[in-house]
Symmetry: C2
Subunit: 157 residues, 2 copies
Amino acid sequence: MIPDEDFDARAADAALTASRALMGVVARSVAGVLEIVTLPQFRVLVLLDTSGPLRMGVLGEAIGVLPSTLSRAIDRIVEAGWVRRTTRPASRREVLIELTPAGQNLVTHALEQRRDNIADILSVLSPDQKSAIVSAFELFARAAGETSSKDLLILGI
Amino acid sequence: MIPDEDFDARAADAALTASRALMGVVARSVAGVLEIVTLPQFRVLVLLDTSGPLRMGVLGEAIGVLPSTLSRAIDRIVEAGWVRRTTRPASRREVLIELTPAGQNLVTHALEQRRDNIADILSVLSPDQKSAIVSAFELFARAAGETSSKDLLILGI
DNA sequence: CACAACAATTGCAAGCATACATTTATGGCG
DNA sequence: CGCCATAAATGTATGCTTGCAATTGTTGTG
């Protein structure tokens, strides 16, 4: 009989290896984008994609940078055409940041490419194997619990 | 009967979700390090960890930066104590870069933390579930093929 | 040995992120 | 209405990365 620790260790190692494979997929999907925008800039775009338009304060809080840092970062990506500043009539001292269609495209495209890459990898497997992977991945994701967006933003996901 | 495309789509989605969970783990393990060294600097350390001591030229080629960029980057992480410059007696125009014990620790610690985080997640599962995950992850990693270090370096893995 | 090829570094310059302090505009409250 | 709090932007400064061009030191070759 196999001792529990050994079994657990093998499980963790397998997950680590799979994580390398998955990260490779992610890295490739991000690589293209990083030739267009910087990682901190991409983080902003991803956050706006998942959360919709946000105030400067909220946005800065979410990605963990000071207001002054964010203000200048927004300057640059507004200049580049990925986002837009909107002053809300209700409270004219608050500034809403929202994705432009171009910015939306940029994020959507990166996510779609990642999904396609994964589909490519799975395409060589038999239906049985695929279904085993689906169950296992769903199981793992559930065990991991809600992955906080904050963590993922570090990598610009 | 379920059409193939639907099934494939669900598989890719499950993999995507699992990838978010795994990347959360990776992100957390990287987050701590990024308060100590920058991402490009961490890339250098990770590469030296997996490849051993490297010449400036090879190192620059591997992480895709110009020699001048690398030279100054090395200046800084030498100054910080993570790596060491070694002039090889055999060819005095070549400079070998190698991790110091401190640099080695930094990388090792980040990887260990990632592995521990994964083990934590798996700890709530039953042996059967764990074994299903192990098989599925091993299967996926094999299907993904060799993940090039070059890709992974983008994210500093 | 002289000269070309190579390895690494340095000079010079730009862009980006970041931080702290200050300023401007606006909103809320007594 | 006047004052204070709030939201964002600016002034100022530092450090990292990146790029192109020029330089220094070293190796190998004719």
